[in-house]
Amino acid sequence: MFAYVVRRVLATIPVMALVALFVFSLLYIAPGDPAAVIAGDQATPQDVERIRASLGLDRPYLVRFGAWVWGILNGDMGTSIFTNLPVTTMIAQRIEPTLSLMVLTLILAVSIAVPMGVLAAWKQGTLIDRAVMGFAVLGFSVPVFVVGYLLAYVFALELDWLPVQGYTAFSNGFFPWLENLILPSVALGGVYIALIARITRATMLEVLQQDYIRTARAKGAGQSSILFLHALKNAAVPIVTVIGIGIALLIGGAVVTESVFAIPGLGRLTVDAILRRDYPVIQGVVLLFSFVYVLVNLLIDLAYTLFDPRIRY
């Protein structure tokens, strides 16, 4: 197992290198000019040119790429072209809101979606099953921003229960932190709940046909014991896989959710950086997201061994 983990961790190095090369090259050939954005609309072409030179954007591709890679190898992700702040500082400022949003959404989604999927499988073909699947279709179909606006309208503007926007750091208290995250988590969680509920239902339906379930029933096991101890545990591997894949979905959804609820997270940082062509920030955030995704996949693979003792690395 340890050797496997080491092998997988080492394998992330070429993956990250490829991501780095790809992101840098893509940004290099992409149109847009941060110097023009900095100089403002009234600047002359000469002003823009001098700013470009002062930022080193007139240097050749290989020189710029080499400097960036060398910086990363020395633990320096570069400095934002616009804010003059280190990229690591900007990411550090933004990581807590995004992490909070994703963790809360994950908890919310798993704790709702898995029981929903189990229930739908158990009550297959009934009204409950159809209601759960109907909700899943809705969750997939309605965009995050629509759900977000509706929730804000009802629970913030009409009922005045929760704030419309913003983020309060966890260090300022659990409840203020939670208060700001409830609506965004529900909005972001919709599609995730739908995804997990559907896969849970499908996998459970398959497992519930297995001989060992019939055996469990024959020996007089209770319904909840059959569902949650015998069936769900054996259905866990595909469900955990989907939860892992869904992390990418969450990252994408966080971009929209953070904009709708004005949460100062990594999603908004990414969008702002892309619109302004703040290359070091884009590169840093994409590298971070890639690393997180690779790490999540590793954790998912390791989690398989917990649910299925037959899997050994």
Binding site: T44, D47, I51, L157
Partner: protein, 533 residues
């Protein structure tokens, strides 16, 4: 106590008992009343008002750095940091004396050497500053409070240059900061104005915080725009960046923010229905929409093709696309200067008035020799003002019979591509849309878009000596009448040759909670004199 506060208190009490967690300290009512939460027009992504000339940077900088002079609501420069000035009889030597007791935010006094360094950096970037620099003999500190600017030829607009509100303003910084190369960003934000910038609370893209500077000495006169006593009636100003207008609207309605700089006109009816919200025009000087053509490449390198566009364009179509049915928000603009200001005139503007004659425009286009070449229109879709104008333009040019190549892109790409002088087909372009703040269009001083000095001109590079001659006449004019006469001639020459096509004059709203008072109308949000109950 509102419902949310009640629920929060109840939940917190219960939750604390269950989880042992307690909410963080809340602001007292008094503290909340001394904190103003403001939604700016854009993200404060950098904070060097000389290096980055975006309006949002200028607006924040006006809180943190003071200027030697400031324009008032009559567009006249008034003394601000200076106590007085003397100009020699030949107009070549300007001697300025600073007010007593001026301090930077680090507690150091503002000295003449700081002013000299600040003006040196500013004059390397600002159009008026560059003009002064070109005729500068010397700029020196005479003593701690006196500095002298000696010129090779008179510059009658000196005080306007030092007090104008157009970006970049001549903000006064400590010498060590002002010595930074003007094309490199400063890294320290020590101001001379009424508010300190709290760098440790700055989260670019989300929040910027300003704290009252207790040692700031305001002038005795009443505040008027950038002039007069800048008395801060709140202790703390929080800029909350909200990229989504719907969220900003909801936050204002919910009392989570106090003042929103630029609500979308679509959302204004909703805001007006809320009895806790006030809505009014933000800036009476408004904005001028711009259809900017490339004078270097066909078809718009021919004045007949440019005039065909003027002849066919309906400014009402453009303005309706921008502001909808609200007639308070726009007016036609058969000229280039801001309506309601002294130099506004309509000389040569008949081509933009009356019924639009598409057939005559088509004939004129044919006379220009247009042979169906592609016409790349680069239109930023992420800016509502450019997107709306672009949609109207695509239709207009197609009806005129031009082979439109509509390039829907983002503002960052427009910024890069419009700088390219290549022919069409090699990355070149034919037109793009922009807009100019009315405050920049009250005279030619900061009106980069009206200049027509060829390679030195703004994107599109018009080369029209008649226009440049009248700009020079304005700079040399000694009376308002002379200025007006020069600007009438300039307006005509600029329309005859189509420096650019104005698409109309439009205004925008600002909105604030009814417990906020003292908000002025002006070209930027002025925070002095604003209080909150």
């Amino acid at each position: 106590m509102d419902r949310r506060t009640f629920l929060k208190a109840g939940t917190a009490a219960g939750g604390a008992a269950l989880l042992g967690g307690l909410p963080g300290p809340a602001l007292s009512q008094g503290a909340a009343a001394r904190t103003l939460r403001f939604v700016p027009q854009a993200n404060l992504a950098n904070f060097d008002p000389i290096w980055g000339t975006q309006y949002v940077v200028r607006n924040a900088a006006a809180l943190v750095w003071d200027t030697l002079y400031g324009v008032d609501e009559n567009l006249r420069p008034q003394r601000q940091m200076v106590e007085g000035e003397e100009v020699s009889a030949d107009g070549l030597t300007w001697t300025f004396r600073l007010r007593e007791g001026l301090k930077f935010h680090d507690g150091e006094p503002v000295l003449a050497k700081d002013v000299v360094a600040s003006l040196t950096r500013w004059s390397a970037r600002d159009p008026m500053g560059l003009m002064i620099k070109a005729i500068q003999q010397e700029l020196v500190a005479v003593d701690d409070r006196t500095f002298r600017w000696v010129l090779k030829k008179p510059y009658p607009k000196m005080l306007l240059a030092l007090g104008k509100n157009n970006s970049p303003c001549s903000f006064i910084m400590p010498e060590r900061i002002a010595k930074t190369d003007p094309f490199t960003q400063i890294t320290e934000y020590v101001g001379s104005g009424p508010m300190r910038f709290l760098r440790n609370e700055w989260v670019p893209g989300a929040k910027a915080v300003f704290q009252k500077f207790d040692q700031y000495v305001p002038r005795q006169e009443a505040a008027s725009w950038l002039a007069g006593g800048k008395r801060m009636l709140v202790d703390r100003i929080e800029w909350v960046v909200m990229p989504d207008p719907a969220t900003a609207s909801a936050a204002l309605q919910n009392g989570e923010v106090d003042w929103w700089e630029n609500p979308l006109s679509d959302l204004v009816p909703t805001l007006r229905r809320n009895r806790n919200i006030r809505v009014d025009i933000a800036d009476p000087l408004g904005n001028i929409g711009s259809f900017r053509m490339n004078h270097l490449t066909p078809p718009f390198n021919n004045v007949k093709a440019r005039r065909a566009v003027l002849m066919a364009m309906s400014q009402e179509d453009y303005m309706r696309a921008l502001v909808g049915d609200d007639n308070n928000l726009w007016k036609p603009l058969p000229g280039f200067f801001t309506p309601g200001t002294p130099l506004y005139n309509e000389e040569g503007g008949d081509i933009l008035k009356g019924r639009r004659d598409l057939d005559a425009a088509k004939r004129l286009l044919a006379e220009s020799g247009y042979k169906g070449e592609p016409v790349p229109c680069i239109v930023a879709q992420d800016q509502p003002i450019t997107k709306s104008q672009g949609d109207v333009t695509a239709d207009l040019l197609k009806r005129l019979g031009l082979n439109v190549d509509f390039v829907a892109t983002d503002w960052g790409t427009v910024g890069q591509r419009r700088a390219m002088k290549n022919p069409v087909g090699q990355g070149g372009w034919s037109m793009f849309h922009s807009w100019h703040a009315g405050a920049d269009c009250t005279n030619p001083a900061a009106y980069t878009a009206i200049r027509a000095n060829g390679a030195g001109a703004w994107f599109g590079w018009p080369d029209i000596p008649e226009v440049e001659a009248e700009v020079a006449s304005w700079f040399e004019a000694k009376t308002l009448e002379e200025e007006k006469a020069a600007m009438r001639r300039l307006n005509k020459a600029a329309l005859d040759n189509v420096v650019y096509a104005p698409t109309g004059f439009f205004l925008s709203y600002q909105a604030w909670r009814s417990n906020v008072s003292g908000i002025q109308k002006g070209p930027l949000p002025f925070f002095w004199g604003v209080s909150k109950s």
